[in-house]
């Protein structure tokens, strides 16, 4: 793999270089806003602020893939984001929501993230990077990372076109993962690429083992009654859909008359059944969404963050999605060339999953 070792402070120059050399026309970058971190889209290289420590900050605002959803222009956009966001962007490419050639995906090592509010309230205590010991320590103080991050086993920057790998101390290794990534990096004058061999299999295994343990400890929704109880407070605001990076329909079924009955339609359904819950279609909405994102859900937890009623949706969407992904042996966002499970088939398969 081609890469270069830099001081984290040099990343500013690298991003400026990408814009300067027209490797990208604009760059979506995390930056500091007060105590917190948010994204900005930059076209003028002089507006780039020092990206460290913002890019490693354990804070999750919005899934940056949402920004490029429907990026149907040929101008190239670069995104610097956490691996889950990059994986979502890769799924969006497969879903034809943007062109592979018009996005440069730069993933950054992630240590897990806190909700914006928690991060802002305890920014100093949390700091710019957390390891598993620190996560446990903070948890003892009542500051917990997002459940989605706790059960995440793909936190390393090994997806997208370029990966930014955090090293011990102040160093980072920037690697080109795809040809496009290598090309973009080699356009920058200040850096010279060399062969970098980073073996992170040990780290990957460790993260996976920890995540598995957390996943098993998660309360399970194992019956339809349990699901009803779980969704008790849902007001069908559909914020989870809005913030979901892989929910991409231009017009959702649940915005149409059948999915969102009003007036006479609603009365008719109520008359048919004697009594219905309103807003209507609560369970139908969630189950449909579970199915719709079942193969593409990257488990970023944006749905949970978006829920105004604090329903822990991570226990629903990514958990069930993973079981569906298992039967197709599909890992969303792993490979941009791998077809989506529902767009392909094998002549002999799955017969044991049908009855």
């Amino acid at each position: 793999m081609k890469g270069v070792e830099l001081k984290s402070g040099d990343l500013e120059g690298l991003f400026k270089g990408l814009l300067d050399k027209k490797a990208v026309d604009c760059l979506v970058l995390p930056h500091r806003v007060g105590n917190n971190v948010a994204y900005m889209m930059v076209t003028d290289k002089d507006k780039i602020e020092s990206p460290v420590p913002a890019i490693f900050a354990p804070s999750f605002s919005v899934n940056a893939a949402n920004v490029v959803k429907g990026w149907l222009i040929k101008e190239k956009i670069g995104i610097v984001a956490k691996p889950c966001e990059i994986r979502a962007a890769i799924e969006l490419i497969k879903l034809k929501q943007m062109d592979k050639e018009s996005v440069l995906l730069i993933s950054v090592d992630c240590s897990g993230a806190f909700k914006n509010q928690d991060y802002a309230d305890h920014a100093e205590e949390i700091g710019d990077w957390v390891d598993s010991a620190k996560i446990e320590e903070l948890k003892g103080k009542g500051i917990a990372i997002r459940e989605a991050c706790e059960i995440c086993d793909k936190r390393l920057a090994d997806v997208g076109d370029i990966g930014i790998v955090k090293q011990d101390g102040d160093n980072v290794v920037v690697v080109g993962i795809t040809d496009m990534g290598v090309e973009a990096l080699s356009a920058i004058e200040d850096i010279s690429l060399e062969d970098k061999d980073i073996d992170r299999s040990g780290e990957t295994e460790k993260i996976a083992a920890e995540a598995k343990k957390k996943k098993e400890a998660l309360p399970e929704i194992s019956s339809v009654e349990a699901l009803e109880e779980f969704l008790r407070d849902c007001i069908v605001c559909k914020n989870c859909r809005e913030m979901c990076p892989v929910c991409y329909c231009k017009e959702c079924f649940f915005e149409q008359p059948l999915g969102k009955p009003v007036g006479g339609d609603l009365l008719n359904i109520a008359e048919l059944r004697g009594a219905i819950a309103v807003p209507a279609n609560q369970l139908m909405y969630h189950l449909t969404r579970v199915y719709h994102v079942s193969t593409t859900c990257v488990g970023c937890g944006a749905c949970e963050d978006a829920c105004p009623k604090d329903i822990p949706l991570t226990r629903l969407y990514p958990v069930i999605a993973e079981k569906v992904q298992e039967i197709f042996e599909y890992v969303p966002g792993k490979d941009v060339e791998e077809p989506l499970p529902f767009t392909t088939y094998e002549e002999e398969e799955l017969e044991d999953k049908l009855r």
Binding site: I221, S222, A275, I276, A277, M284, Y291, F342, E347, L354
Partner: protein
């Protein structure tokens, strides 16, 4: 006394089964079962689709949430699709929705079969079996719920 009443009610339980069948095979098989006077329980309502691939898993969800005690799908045997590969795609979707339903303990209320146009008898027997199975499961937990 009370026990007897419940027993009676159980006996009375007649499941409502919604079926989605492909026009080119199982729908014709149902027709064949009829014309060859094969008897099967009258508790299923068949909805004809033009192809297995027309089965949007949302149909299954909707039927279950509206209180159907059982839902079944039946199409042409894999490899024999009228439109060449419709049932291959359908099979993947069915596997996915069944995985989701399994998580909620509803997968035993959704069955899928491959029944070709010539298998009238198989259709009748399948319906008999399904009806028995659903009767044994009892009414759907979602029946009559305020949803």
């Amino acid at each position: 006394m009370g026990e007897e009443t419940t027993k009676k009610e159980e006996e009375k339980f007649e499941p409502k089964i919604v079926g989605f069948t492909c026009n080119w095979c199982t729908y014709a098989a149902a027709d064949l079962a009829g014309t060859s006077r094969k008897k099967y329980p009258p508790n299923s309502r068949i909805i004809r689709l033009m192809c297995s691939a027309r089965l949007d898993p949302m149909f299954v969800l909707k039927a279950l949430l509206n209180g159907a005690d059982g839902v079944f799908f039946s199409g042409c045997h894999p490899g024999e699709c009228h439109y060449i590969k419709g049932n291959f795609y359908a099979r993947r979707r069915i596997a996915a929705i069944r995985t989701i339903l399994k998580q909620l303990g509803l997968d035993n209320r959704f069955k899928s079969y491959w029944i070709s146009a010539s298998e009238g008898e198989k259709f009748a027997n399948t319906m008999k079996g399904l009806s028995e199975e659903i009767k044994e499961l009892g009414p759907s937990p979602l029946r009559g719920k305020v949803l």
